[in-house]
């Protein structure tokens, strides 16, 4: 089965080509079917692969051909199948499949349907390359490929400016991150003389490396990860990315692409572990991002933006996990998050669909009667996000904060707990404003309707997943299936895994659940009992509130100050180009022409003057020859 692993990306690629070439003219709605079937097939295959890996095939490299090779530098197109990639394959294909199915309904009316499924297929292909690659360079292909697709899909509705501006922002910010990635991998090559994961880790194990250069490498790679996974300082593209169709947000900007940063760091764990300080960086950045984004999510009214910031925040958790040396927990959270966040997005998508495009939560309310399926599934997902046992989110997030505590990062732990409370609060707020209370806009309310089965079915499936996944693979804590499965990877990384005793685990679990409950409690108080009234709180918070609403003025900084500065520089250098560099050339020509005009005056046309010149010339000759003879000018 593993030998067939290349079929997994092959199917989406085929779908991409077919839809791309024939979609517009002939296929029409069939494009959706084709794409879904293709992804479904790869999902089946990856389940097979997963089982095989489970069956003990720990590390398999499936080579395809030599891609680039010059001198001592050589890179193959080859797949590395180990537990880590197996999990990722599974998550990616399965979630993608569900979302594809959902999209068939959601995008049905859009005349660009064929484009949508073409690019979605391409995205899945690229994502799979990213996950399967056995070396950093091939990974980079997928890495950029998903970036491209996200660009195309965010800008899907390119008649309006917002989408394509958001799209460009996303791509450019990713590119900035990729700068780090490039530097990282090239430095890796300089140090290890290879870009192949296994070679690198072997060399790392056998020979001792200089701390400094490893730190440079890791920081560079992590910088790349922040770009892709929307961490500080490169997070601000993700909220804007919500301009894309909702399934895109669900698939790319919640479940898969944005997690590839996490995957990168998890993949490079041995490097990070070997280079001590870099892990601290990862942890701190993750934690800060988590609480930072959560605070912004508190005050958003656009339902999708709430989800977006929550995604940023959750990704922060994952990096936090990596930072405190719990890669397994990170991957675990990645998986669960993929499910419940995708579900939240699809749910809100279903709401938007039901309200024919309305995204502002202030205009919603009371929808639970109108769209029950959506309501219930989102409720489950919300619970998971708020980390209520026994839902998936609880297990994974609990492990993260626990790991932070156990490994002695108490500050990070504290941040984690606070963030948990905030998370619980804003999700409560969002769900309440959407589904409870009185419909604030009756016109919308009356036309609201539940989505078709093709959309609700994936919701249900995801809901089930969200409900059971955690307990299925995450129990018992720290020894759950996922751990045993990922152990090889973790050990390879050489992370110090000291398993705490049960008491602490329970204690920590209680604390984090408590945090969640507190958050929910406050939320309920404010939005059900209206005491304290949200508006009053906002007024009381004053500047802090404004800070949150304006997202810490970071977009302001990025989109205006920096961009304007760049424009100014560019304009200046163009002026320099025209007036100085080119100007000099032209002025030289002008000067010569003027010189010609000047010399023309000497040509008076009067014979006497000409004779005079000749005489002067004679004098010059005498002086010259005399000078030479006397050796004045030297010989």
């Amino acid at each position: 089965m593993i030998s067939l692993v290349w079929l997994i990306p092959a199917f989406p690629l085929a779908a991409f080509l077919i839809n791309g070439l024939f979609g517009r003219r002939w296929l029409g709605h069939w494009t959706g079917v084709i794409a879904s079937v293709a992804v479904g097939l790869s999902a089946l295959l990856s389940i097979g692969v997963f089982l095989e890996v489970l069956g003990g095939k720990q590390q398999t490299v499936v080579g395809l051909y030599r891609w680039i090779g010059v001198g001592d530098f050589s890179v193959n197109v080859a797949a590395l199948i180990d537990p880590l990639s197996a999990v990722m394959l599974l998550v990616v294909t399965v979630v993608s499949f569900l979302i594809f199915v959902y999209s068939n309904g959601y995008m049905a009316e859009d005349r660009g349907l064929w484009r949508f499924f073409t690019w979605m297929s391409l995205f899945v292909f690229a994502m799979l390359i990213l996950v399967m690659a056995d070396n950093y360079l091939l990974m980079f292909v997928g890495w950029e490929g998903v970036g491209l697709c996200s660009y195309l899909l965010i800008g899907f509705w390119f008649e309006r400016p917002e989408p394509y501006l958001a799209a460009k922002k996303a791509f450019v910010m990713n590119r900035i991150g990729d700068w780090g990635y490039t530097i990282g991998i090239i430095t890796i090559f300089l140090v290890f003389n290879s870009m192949n994961f296994l070679d690198i880790f072997n060399r790392l194990a056998t020979s001792s490396m200089a701390q400094g250069v490893l730190t440079i490498i890791c920081v560079a790679l992590f910088f790349g990860a922040t770009g892709k996974s929307a961490q500080l300082p490169l997070y601000s593209w993700l909220p804007d990315a919500m301009e894309g169709p909702t399934p895109v947000s669900a698939l790319i900007h919640a479940a898969t692409m944005v997690t590839s940063g996490v995957y990168l760091v998890a993949r490079s764990m041995p490097l990070f572990v070997a280079a001590g300080p870099s892990l601290e960086v990862v942890g701190v950045v993750g934690a800060v991002t988590a609480i930072f984004a959560a605070t912004i999510a508190l005050v958003q009214f656009d339902i999708k933006r709430v989800m977006a910031y929550s995604t940023v925040s959750q990704l922060g958790y994952m990096f936090l996990a990596l930072g405190v040396g719990a890669p397994a927990a990170a991957i675990f959270h990645l998986a669960t998050h993929a499910f419940f966040k995708a579900l939240l997005f699809l749910g809100s998508g279903s709401v938007i669909h039901g309200l024919s495009g309305e995204q502002d939560m202030r205009k919603m309310g009371g929808l639970r009667r109108r769209m029950p399926v959506t309501f219930w599934t989102m409720l489950i997902a919300g619970g998971a996000l708020a980390a209520l046992p026994p839902l998936a989110g609880f297990w994974s997030k609990d492990e993260i904060v626990a790991a932070a505590f156990v490994n002695g990062h108490f500050v990070l732990y504290a941040i984690g707990i606070i963030t948990a409370a905030l998370t619980a609060f804003y999700i409560t707020r969002a769900l309440w404003m959407t589904f409870y209370g009185e419909p604030s806009d009756h016109h919308l309310y009356d036309h609201a309707h539940e989505s078709p089965t093709v959309m609700t079915l994936p919701l249900v499936l995801l809901g089930v997943g969200t409900a059971v996944l955690g307990i299925a693979i995450g129990f018992p804590p720290e020894q759950g299936f996922i751990h045993r499965f990922l152990d090889p990877v973790v050990e390879a990384a050489g992370v110090a895994e000291h398993a705490p005793e049960l008491a602490t685990i329970l204690l920590l679990a209680v604390v984090s659940v408590a945090a969640g409950v507190v958050g929910i409690g406050i939320g309920v108080l404010m939005y059900v009992r209206h005491r304290p009234d949200p508006a009053a709180v906002a007024r009381a918070a004053g500047p802090l509130y404004r800070l949150f609403v304006n997202k810490y003025y970071i977009d302001e900084l990025y989109d205006h100050r920096i961009v304007e500065a760049a424009r100014a520089i560019a304009g200046a250098s163009w002026a320099f180009d025209i007036h100085i560099i080119d100007g000099l050339a032209n002025r030289l020509g002008w000067a010569l022409a003027m010189g010609g005009q000047g010399l023309r005056r000497v040509q008076t046309g009067v014979v006497g003057n000409y004779a005079l010149t000749i005489m002067a010339g004679l004098l010059l000759m005498l002086v010259a020859y005399g000078g030479y003879a006397a050796g004045i000018f030297g010989r």
Partner: protein, 175 residues
């Protein structure tokens, strides 16, 4: 042969004649006068040739320069006179200061260098017609032929430039 003042004295006189007449050609403003003084300068020059013992050259000098060339030039002067002689003496010319300075600057060193020619003991003069003739008609036979070609060309040229052009004349008369 003892002292012989004759030659130096004659030389001095001739030199004064050559230089003086030449200077007058440049300085005087009446063209006819200039022409005649030029002839005088040529004559003195012929005298110098005699003094140098080149009687043949002297003869040619008189024949060609004083005879032919001076006459030609005087004709030229006559032909071009009725434009009114608006030619001025040296000191009315525009660029004379620069010209004078330049010529002086060149002339002074050259004249000084001229004195650096030192001749060995003088040779007995004697007729120069024979060696001259042999040389011209043997060594320089070809050059001589070319010279004749030159004269022919000059003749043709002079004719073609001065012959009256019927149509142009007619046009002028019509005006």
């Amino acid at each position: 042969m003892g002292f012989d003042f004759v030659e130096p004295v004659i030389f001095a006189v001739l030199a004064v004649g050559v230089i003086g007449a030449g200077a007058a050609v440049v300085l005087l403003n009446r063209i006819t006068a200039s022409a005649l003084l030029m002839a005088l300068s040529f004559l003195c020059m012929a005298g110098m040739f005699v003094l140098l013992g080149a009687e043949t050259i002297a003869a040619f000098q008189v024949l060609i320069y004083v005879g032919a060339i001076t006459v030609l030039i005087i004709f030229g002067v006559q032909f071009t006179k009725q434009g009114g002689d608006r030619s001025y003496a040296l000191f009315f010319q525009k660029q004379y200061p620069i010209a004078a300075a330049l010529v002086a600057a060149v002339a002074i060193p050259v004249v000084l260098f001229a004195f650096s020619f030192n001749a060995p003991a003088p040779q007995p003069g004697g007729g120069d017609i024979r060696p001259l003739a042999t040389s011209v008609f043997t060594d320089f036979a070809f050059a001589f032929e070319v010279a004749s070609v030159l004269l022919l060309a000059a003749m043709v040229g002079a004719i073609v430039l001065t012959q009256r052009d019927e149509r142009v004349e007619a046009a002028r008369r019509r005006r």
